[in-house]
């Protein structure tokens, strides 16, 4: 006997089985889709948090912030620290950054202005914008290079003007960057932002210093040396790896995402119950049909395959709808969670969508196992008597 052919016959039956009770099938598919949508969307958030906060072995970026300050508005450091930091052994580069945000609290639509020295930025970010855009940005004092996600979210393009947090800027171009911090930021000239912000005088005050170390192994020692250097100063500092800085700022969000993730997993458990219930009901109403199939010569393994294929279809189709909808929603939203001036991008992920579908299929098949065993063990005569 050809196993492939008999499975093909069962697949035809399983496919048509979804049409048997269209309302029930549609409700189950909708339930699975909603659960997988929730799971995938929450997992996209979790993935964004993980990308932004997980320390990597090759990390070389440090953030120097004002000690015991947790908001860009209150972290004020003298720009003159730049030369002192640059002299510390192990430091490869220092960039003073002034940050102005449109909202200091956690939000999905925050614009973060990063005031940077133009010439330094042109060197450190060469290649992230076109030469023409970079030249335009360098030549104009009120210009901004904006991250791709911010541009999409606010529908901005080169040549536009936009205003946020009281800062009015000209869009010189779009920058491409893998760093979530860059994707929601508008990079402007440091002096321009200091002038616009009107905080702490027009000269010499920045929010933080972005420091690159020459050797990832020296991250801790360089951070310690920077903080010791300014410990007795009027503006003591706290220096952390960039990922640790984001993680500290995003502590509340991390807790919330963790909670949401638990809800996403609970939704998947609901998939299991939903599919199991649908399959049990379906099989209970088809005991005679199972006996007919047995009479035709179909064996227990065929009937178990039929039940599992039906479960697989419900989980697979529902999962694909949910994962696809989540992918589309996250892609269209192009959102970033920003808190205290740091951003965590929520990006669509094909891998997360695949995992969502795989989990839905796995749970659905698992839900079909007991009904499959019952169907395989049913005796023909008992089925006809039901």
């Amino acid at each position: 006997m050809s196993r492939a052919q008999s499975i093909m016959g069962m697949a035809t039956l399983a496919l048509r089985g979804m049409k048997r009770r269209p309302t029930r099938s549609a409700l189950v598919l909708a339930g699975v889709a909603v659960a997988v949508f929730l799971f995938c969307t929450v997992d996209a958030m979790r993935s964004g948090v993980e990308r932004a906060t997980q320390k990597s072995a090759g990390e070389t970026a440090l953030i120097v912030y004002r000690q015991n300050r947790f908001c860009p508005f209150t972290s004020q450091l003298p720009q003159s620290y730049e030369s002192a930091i640059a002299k510390i052994p192990g430091v490869a580069s220092v960039t003073p950054v002034k940050i102005v945000v449109s909202n200091c609290r956690a939000s999905l639509d925050v614009v973060t202005f990063r005031g940077v020295p133009p010439q330094e930025f042109a060197v450190t970010h060469s290649g992230s914008a076109s030469a023409q855009d970079m030249q335009s940005w360098l030549s104009r004092g009120d210009s901004a290079l904006i991250g791709r996600e911010l541009a999409q979210r606010r529908r901005l393009k080169a040549g536009d003007r936009f205003t946020a947090a009281g800062v009015d800027a000209f869009v010189a171009g779009i920058i491409e960057s893998d760093l979530p911090q860059d994707q929601s930021s508008a990079f402007v000239h440091l002096s321009f932002l200091q002038e616009q912000a009107k905080r702490g005088g027009t000269g010499g005050v920045v929010t933080q210093f972005d420091v690159r170390v020459s050797d990832p192994a020296q991250m801790d020692s360089v951070a310690q040396a920077i903080d010791e250097r300014f410990a007795k100063d009027q503006s003591p500092t706290t220096t952390r790896a960039e990922t640790a800085h984001v993680a500290r700022a995003a502590t509340d969000v991390i807790v919330l995402v963790g909670f949401a993730q638990a809800l996403g997993i609970a939704a998947l458990v609901a998939v299991f119950a939903l599919v199991a219930n649908a399959i049990v009901l379906s099989m209970r109403s088809r005991e005679k049909e199972i006996s007919v199939l047995q009479t035709l010569g179909f064996r227990g393994v065929h009937l178990a395959t039929l039940v599992l294929l039906e479960a697989l279809l419900l989980g697979g189709v529902g999962g694909m709808i949910g994962a696809g909808a989540s992918y589309a929603a996250v892609s269209l939203a192009r959102t970033a969670m920003t808190m205290e001036g740091v951003s965590i991008a929520i990006a669509p992920s094909f891998a997360i969508a695949l995992i969502g579908v795989a989990i839905a299929i796995g749970l659905s098949v698992l839900a079909g196992i007991v009904p499959a065993i019952i169907a395989a063990r049913q005796t023909i005569v008992a089925g006809f008597r039901s």
Partner: protein, 243 residues
């Protein structure tokens, strides 16, 4: 292809298709043993058209189910188309049914979500046949029962007589040695019933198909060559039918 002959004795080539010896079937119901069939000795020739008759509860459907291998005897031996059915495992019985038996139910029992064509094609998935071969077999079976023009219809779009024709096509599409029918006209009006009986007679006379049919109706039984009557689980009459 299936091989259901490996573990059981063979009587292929024998002129007898069913040989049962001292066949018994008992059920346990509420702690009480119900003797549905008792000491049935019966031999049916290959190519015969046999009617099983008897009052309700006489055991005729149970006997048909034993012939079909969908139920097992409590005692006795039962050889059908060369197989001792009492010695086959559950899986072996299923394989044997797929090749040797076609079964027609009183209530047709077509799969409602499949078309007439797909219903007839269903048992062929258990055979090593190409798509083209399956198509040829299904077309031939639908043609034989005179329902080719309804091949794309779903059961709900067919009349009772048409549904039963599709069910007969499904039963013969595997070219079984034995066609079993459990009151095939029991749910049909007089005209449709006559038409179905004509079809079964045609299958018997033109193809030499062995048919064992359970019926209540004496006029239906006249289409058979031989009448076996049961009463209270016992064989009480076994006669040739005079046409």
């Amino acid at each position: 292809m299936q091989n259901t002959n490996a573990t059981t004795p063979q009587i292929h080539g024998s002129s007898d298709i069913i040989v049962c010896d001292n066949l018994e079937k008992h059920y346990s119901r509420g702690g009480e043993t119900v003797r549905v069939l008792e000491s049935i000795d019966l031999t049916l020739a290959r190519g015969a058209f046999v009617a099983l008759m008897g009052p309700s509860g006489s055991g005729k459907t149970t006997l048909l189910n034993l012939f079909a291998g969908i139920d097992r005897p409590t005692a006795g031996t039962l050889m059908v188309d060369g197989q001792d059915l009492t010695k086959l495992s559950r899986a072996q019985l299923a394989q044997w049914r797929a090749t040797s038996v076609g079964y027609v139910f009183q209530l047709y029992h077509l799969v409602p979500v499949l078309t007439a064509y797909e219903n007839v094609e269903l048992p062929l998935y258990l055979h090593e046949l190409s798509r083209a071969q399956r198509h040829e077999r299904v077309s031939e079976a639908l043609e034989a029962v005179g329902i080719s023009d309804r091949h794309a219809h779903y059961p709900r779009q067919l009349s009772g007589g048409q549904e039963q024709r599709v069910a007969i096509a499904r039963a013969i599409v595997t070219r079984p040695a034995l066609l079993l029918a459990d009151e095939p006209t029991g749910d049909l009006d007089r005209v449709a019933a006559a038409s179905i009986m004509q079809l079964l007679s045609q299958l018997h006379s033109e193809r030499g198909q062995t048919i064992v049919m359970v019926t209540h109706d004496p006029s239906t039984a006249t289409h058979a060559q031989r009448l076996v009557r049961l009463d209270k689980g016992q064989l009480v009459e076994d006669v040739a039918v005079l046409s």
